[in-house]
Structure formats: structure tokens, C-alpha cells
Symmetry: C2
Subunit: 170 residues, 2 copies
DNA sequence: GTGTGCATGTAAGGAGTTACATGATTGC
DNA sequence: GCAATCATGTAACTCCTTACATGCACAC
């Protein structure tokens, strides 16, 4: 939250939009999480909330305080880490694919390979350009992470393509 | 659940243990999920539950029915897919690393690189051998998935090592 | 003038985890 | 004998999502 505000997302709505276009893949969120959390952070003195109406439509602009910036840095260098969680039906299907006929196995692997391709392409062509807009601003890590994601999915795609061709020649 | 029983885990406890040693990385579960789900599947006729006490300690052995095997195959070839979810504080930290000093950035990247190394090694040396025990039994996908995981983490490790050396020479 | 997007928030529900409760077996 | 593991289940709780409720601004 603090990080998103520091990257330039001022309203709750803008934070959710920014998250959908970037951290969604490794840290998704919803508006019902964003608003109460912003209120808590403002109450705790890590954010300042100012009125910033757009015409007669209410809007609030948040700003990171000194304490907030310090808290963000402290979290970034802390080694405490909630366990990574990854949940993927596709991989689970692959794990259990021995129950399928060879043709269905091939179809499954092909599907996963295409999905990896789509993910890689999406990151490279949709997410990375958005991140690179920030790049001008001395902010390069969002683009780096997008590239890491795109490259990793490309690697998985290639791995699955290899498996696919092995299944075909049997 | 059906898949795990078919792979040879007969009791609820054994299913949980097997999951911890294999699907944990992409489909974790807990005993409080396993037991009610087994009861539901048995009630729905997809599993048969038999008494299988070990001495005077109660135990139940589950078996997949014809309907259960059919339901498993149907799910494996179905294209409906719950969205992949991935949640990782490490990557989130990297995304926001612009807020850190160059030294702290380097320390973070190094930490992530080592974590990727540990994950890759763990999969190759702990998980893969367990999966290969099944391999003899005409069951090869568990080992394939373990290898995919190990290789993908190795790729990420190498990617981060590259980034690390770029940060060092600045 | 109308649909899409901007904007804030609450309430209910679902999915999953941790903690609780209990006890037998097996290996050292 | 004692610790670790096997074994089954329930209750409470937490985190997060979906749905609800409301209304203005802007572009076509």
C-alpha cells in the first residue's frame, strides 16, 4: 500500500488500478481490502489523507509520511517472510496426468504450453510497457519484475514445448 | 484428492503427507480440509471407505470407484480453470526496491537469488527422488513436475544472478 | 443523453488455516 | 520408558472476494 502510494497512486481507486496492472500476478488485492487498509495506515500516521475532490465527486489523495517511508524501508529490508503461496490447477493436472490416455496427455501439455506463452506475451507486451513509463522517473524495479515474469514464463513455455515434442515422438 | 488416492495414498493422513511431499508447492492442503472432503467424496460415491485399523488404532482405507476414476479423468481434460494465484513477498519487495539504497537493493537481490537456489535444490534433491519412486510404477508425471519446478527455479536463480552482477558493477 | 470509467465504502459469504482434542504404535 | 509419528476429527478464526449501495465526470 505504502509502496503503491510512493509510486504515484494517490487515491484508493488508483492504487487498485495500479495493482491490477502490475503486482496482480504476485500480490493481488481488492477494493474491499484497499479502503480499510488506507484508513488504518492513515490512523497509524504512516499516511496522510487529504481531501482532493474532482468537481463535486469526493476523492482523497494519500501521501506517505516520514514514518510511512521508514516503515516501508524497514519492511523491504526485513527478512521475515510469509511463505510463498502458489496455486495452479494446470500444474496439478499435469501432476496427475498419468490417469489420462497418451492423446489426452499431449492435449494437456499443449494447453499448458500455450497458456505459458500467453502469460509471457501478456507480461512483455501489456505489463512491461506500463512499467516502463515509470522507468523515466528513476523507478526501474517494476519493469525488471515484469521482465523477470515474462522471461520465466517463456522458459516454462520452452520446457513444455520440449516435453510436447517428446510425447509426440512416442 | 481422487488423484492422490489413485497414486497410492490410502488414509487421510497419508494423503496429507503425500501432498506435503509433492503438490505442496502448487496445491497445498491441510488435514482439516482432507477429512471432510474425503467424507463428501465417499458420500457422493466417488470413493469407497473401508475400515482398516492398525491394531486398536482406527484407520480407514479409501479406494477410487469407477465413478471416481471417471470424475478424475473428466476434471483432468476439462478446460475450466480457476485463475492461477501466486503470492510472494519476495517479488513484491523487488517490485518496490527503488525505495532502497543501492547496497540494500543488492542485498535483497542476493537474498532472492539464494532463495531461488534453495528452492531449486530442494526440489531436485528432496522432492524429485520421492517422485521417482513412483516412476517404476508407470507413473512419471510427478517426477516431471518436480523437474519442471527445479528447472524453473534454477532459471530464476540464474536470472537474479545476472541482475546481481549488474548491480555490483555500478 | 448515455455508457464507461472514476470514486468510496460496507456487508455477507467462502475458502482455507491454526488450534484444539484425543489416543495408539513404533523405533530408539 | 519416551519421543516421534500415525491417525481422525471438530471448532474457531482469519483473510480475502463477491456483491451491494451510491453517485459524479467525461467522452462520444
Amino acid at each position: 500500500m505504502l509502496g503503491m502510494v510512493q509510486l504515484g497512486a494517490r487515491s484508493g481507486y488508483a492504487i487498485k488500478k495500479a495493482a491490477d496492472a502490475s503486482t496482480r500476478f504476485f500480490w493481488s488485492t481488492s477494493l474491499a481490502q484497499v479502503y480499510p487498509e488506507l484508513a488504518r495506515l492513515a490512523e497509524g500516521g504512516l499516511l496522510i489523507r487529504r481531501n482532493d475532490p474532482n468537481g463535486s465527486r469526493e476523492r482523497y489523495a494519500y501521501e506517505v509520511t516520514e514514518d510511512g517511508a521508514e516503515a516501508l524501508r524497514a519492511w523491504l529490508i526485513s527478512t521475515h517472510e510469509a511463505p510463498t503461496q502458489f496455486r495452479d490447477e494446470g500444474v496439478l493436472r499435469l501432476f496427475l496426468a498419468d490417469a489420462l490416455t497418451p492423446e489426452d496427455q499431449l492435449a494437456l501439455v499443449r494447453r499448458l504450453r500455450r497458456r505459458a506463452h500467453a502469460a509471457s506475451t501478456h507480461m512483455r507486451e501489456e505489463i512491461l510497457p506500463l512499467a516502463e513509463v515509470l522507468h523515466a522517473n528513476d523507478t526501474r524495479y517494476p519493469a525488471l519484475v515484469a521482465r523477470l515474469g515474462a522471461d520465466t514464463y517463456a522458459y516454462a513455455e520452452q520446457w513444455l514445448a520440449q516435453l510436447e515434442s517428446e510425447l509426440e515422438t512416442q
